[in-house]
């Protein structure tokens, strides 16, 4: 089984000697250099963690660093010395993300629920403001102070008193420091640089969100480019009962346990905060109609896509292998080399090329065909296209594998069946195919598991589209992994890290069952020495 199992004694080539040279004193030096480097990084990380008061992370860091040092400085624990380097990465970028992922799946972490609760309360206090009946209004001019910070020059429209407002608060300004023209616009200030018109335009969003806090939670906010108004809070937070009360009518908003303050009427305050919601993300997959239907469709399509790709590719690959597996067939090697070209080209390139080939309007395929097929636009055709392209990408692998398996079937078996009077079809069905399947079955399962998560084949060809509707994240060709990715990262429809993590756990459970099946079949665990 192993190619070229070494039987020759140690070759006295340059390479082993070079390597041996690195293992004596030099080896010790290299080891110490790496170890000090790791420690230096740990010390640096520790200073940052201390600065940010992240004590749990700090204690994990210290423990890990001490453990690593003790492994490499002791004379015992030799196997660990070989296992630690890979394990560090395995833990940091495989185990920890997985654990974190599971953790996120039980939270409501999503757009509108990104903050901690205290931050959300501050956010609510800042955003639920309204101009009171007797509120003041101001003439306003945005300006930069001596340090280049954006400030507002304000003139009270009632009594003409002048102020400078910053994000910190309101400061009075000498009246004669502000110059007002005959139209009532501020045209100059002492000590501040007024903004020009073109700079104003680029600051539009900054300016509209600019808030100058004043007394008792009230604030001054710009309205347009030339005026500002005083706003007062419409809600009051009561810390002892952990509720918000609307000042106007006394409506009480309570913590609903799911990261929002909600009134009895169902009215919700924004933003909410991040909190644990138990299995809610999983029940949403089964119950919430907006989630359940697309999830179920994607779920079924993922199986269809992976199954169809594997079955079609295996069928085509096997057929070609049988056709070309004739000893002495002319051009056999040439055919073989040409047929595996699709497999040799990096898949991401082929997929992007296919996207152009299948373009509805300008694509070569539609121009060569006598009729037009909406390859990527129509939901049903898009599914056909995805499977077709996956077939193109995958059949060479099964061609190679089948060819190898066919050639390893002992010819005596086939001969014997022939002598007993079996026809070619019978030989294939009763002898060749069963034997071949034994060898190929684990690879079929592995390929199914791989295609089950084949993000590239979907995303690079159709991007999951065509889109079913604006309301639903999942497109017609989305599989579970691309659906997960869209839930988490596709901007515009809101990001839902919690739900995305829940879906990825579902994928894991499916893949784990498939792998378990594969182990059970190949019994690879028993082979372990």
């Amino acid at each position: 089984m192993a190619p070229g199992a070494p039987a020759t004694p140690l070759p006295l080539g340059l390479l082993p000697r070079l390597l041996a040279a690195f293992s004596g004193t030099t080896g010790l030096v290299i080891k110490l250099v790496f170890l000090s480097l790791a420690n230096a990084m740990a010390v640096w990380a520790a200073t940052v963690l201390v600065r940010d008061s992240r004590w749990i992370a700090l204690s994990v860091l210290v423990a890990a660093t001490l453990a690593i040092d003790s492994v490499y400085l002791s004379r015992r624990a030799v196997p660990l010395k070989f296992l630690v380097p890979g394990s560090v990465f395995l833990i940091a970028f495989s185990v920890v993300p997985v654990a974190y992922n599971v953790n996120v799946a039980f939270t409501n972490w999503s757009t509108g629920h990104l903050l901690a609760k205290e931050e959300a309360i501050e956010g609510i206090e800042r955003s639920y403001l309204a101009p009171p009946a007797d509120g003041r209004s101001y003439l306003m001019a945005p300006a930069r102070d001596g340090r280049g910070q954006l400030v507002l020059i304000l003139v009270d429209e009632a009594d003409g008193s002048t102020f400078v407002g910053s994000r910190v608060g309101l400061e009075p300004l000498r009246r004669d420091a502000v110059e007002i023209d005959e139209n009532g616009a501020i045209v100059g200030t002492e000590g501040y640089q007024l903004l020009e018109a073109d700079e104003l335009a680029s600051l539009d969003t900054d300016l509209s969100a600019y808030t100058v806090p004043t007394k008792d939670g009230a604030a001054i906010r710009p309205e347009g480019f030339e005026t500002a108004v005083e706003l007062r809070p419409t809600l009051r937070y009561e810390a002892d009962t952990d509720t918000f009360v609307r000042i106007e009518d006394g409506t009480v908003f309570r913590d609903n346990g799911k990261g929002s303050f909600v009134a009895a009427s169902g009215e919700e305050l924004e933003p909410g905060w991040k909190t644990r919601v138990g299995v809610e993300n999983f029940t949403r997959l089964l119950k919430d109609p907006l989630v359940r239907k697309p999830f179920f469709r994607v779920f079924v399509w993922t199986f269809v896509f992976a199954g169809a790709t594997v079955v079609a590719s295996f069928a085509l690959g096997l057929f070609l292998a049988i056709a070309l597996n004739l000893p002495g067939l002319r051009f056999q090697r040439t055919y073989r080399s040409l047929l595996i070209v699709p497999y040799a080209v990096p898949a991401f390139l082929s997929l992007l090329v296919w996207r152009g080939l299948l373009n509805d309007e300008f694509g070569l395929v539609n121009r060569l065909l006598p009729f037009d097929v909406p390859w990527l636009f129509d939901p049903a055709w898009a599914r056909v296209s995805v499977i077709l392209v996956s077939l193109w990408l995958t059949f060479p692998y099964f061609f190679l594998v089948s060819l190898g398996a066919l050639q390893s079937i002992p010819s005596e078996l086939v001969e014997a069946a022939r002598v007993d009077g079996a026809g070619p079809w019978q030989v294939f069905r009763r002898i060749t195919f069963p034997l071949l399947l034994v060898a190929v079955a684990p690879l079929l399962i592995a390929s199914f598991a791989f295609n089950f998560n084949n993000f590239n084949n979907i995303y690079l060809l159709t991007a999951g589209g065509p889109q079913a509707s604006d309301q639903i994240v999942a497109g017609s060709t989305d599989i579970l992994i691309s659906y997960t990715w869209k839930l988490a990262f596709e901007a515009g429809k809101g990001q839902d890290y919690g739900l995305a993590s829940a879906v990825s756990i579902v994928i894991f459970l499916i893949i784990a069952s498939i792998s378990a099946l594969s182990f059970w079949r190949s019994r690879s665990l028993e082979e372990m020495r």
Partner: protein, 288 residues
């Protein structure tokens, strides 16, 4: 003689199906007309203009629109990431495989089982968590944060252990333990035996694992596309996907040139070493 014409016919049809996108892209890359609608299997006028435009870093369509395409940068980024990930994957995997193959210690069986179990949860499934973790490590080590190539490489190394270790351990087991024994008698330490005896003899399996890891990393889009945000930092899959998601119908010739330049080295490498790769693939590794 048995009839063989149908075998040649089958081969011919299958090769036509396999190769027509390849022929098409070669022809488009050399075609003087840039647009998708003018592309064909045979170029009308052969020119190198598409390659020149690609390497110049930006492309201008017939409509006069200019698009920044830092193709050389993408290419270099991809090469760097894939090479580093492949070399380090081999190194980390070989170290672990050596421990599992040559030492008998408590928790060995458990360790190997754990590797298999963790491997079942592909790293990219935890992409949300990886994104959020890198967002935070970037505060401590800027070079390991989002939008850095080192951060991306390090994330790829999270998947270095697993099937690779099993594959390499299987091969190490076939290297006679007597070689170790005689080296130990001569006073060699385990580290010296590893570097001096086992590794040189395991060259074939190291090459297979390295190559498969190289090609898989080169193809990886999901993680790279999530972590790398600015054009200058992107790898080829991410950059080329961006290229195509623009008004690509008008710059199709330049795109084809980019595909050709990226594909040729990989195809040559694959064809030269296909025997080894196929051996590795039939033992559990899956190429992307």
């Amino acid at each position: 003689m048995r009839t063989t014409w149908w075998r040649h016919l089958v081969a011919g049809v299958a090769i036509a199906f396999s190769l027509f996108p390849v022929v098409y892209i070669v022809s488009t890359a050399f075609n003087a007309d840039q647009s998708l609608s003018a592309s064909s299997l045979v170029p009308r006028d052969v020119t190198l203009a598409n390659f020149r435009e690609l390497l110049s870093g930006h492309t201008t369509s017939a409509g006069g629109r200019t698009l920044e395409i830092p193709y050389v940068r993408w290419f270099a980024n991809s090469l760097l990431v894939a090479t580093a990930a492949a070399l380090l994957t081999v190194a980390l995997g070989a170290l672990a495989a050596y421990a599992f193959s040559r030492f008998r210690f408590r928790g060995r069986r458990m360790g190997m089982m754990t590797l298999l179990l963790i491997q079942m949860f592909p790293v990219f499934l935890a992409i949300v968590a990886i994104y959020l973790i890198l967002l935070q490590t970037g505060d401590i080590f800027p070079f390991l944060g989002l939008n850095t190539l080192t951060g991306l490489i390090v994330v790829y190394l999270g998947g270095a252990m697993g099937v690779n270790v099993w594959l390499m351990k299987g091969f190490f087991d076939t290297i006679p333990a007597e070689l170790d024994e005689s080296a130990r008698v001569d006073g060699a330490t385990p580290a010296q035996i590893f570097w001096g005896v086992v590794l040189p003899l395991a060259a074939p399996v190291l090459a297979v694992v390295g190559l498969i890891s190289f090609i898989t990393t080169l193809n990886e889009f999901l993680i790279a596309g999530t972590l790398l945000q600015t054009m200058e930092r992107q790898t080829l899959p991410v950059g080329m996907q961006f290229f195509v998601s623009q008004q690509y119908a008008e710059e199709w010739g330049t795109f084809a040139a980019g595909v050709l330049l990226a594909a040729i080295p990989v195809v040559v490498l694959f064809m030269a070493l296909q025997r080894f790769i196929v051996q590795g693939l039939t033992r559990g590794a899956v190429k992307g």
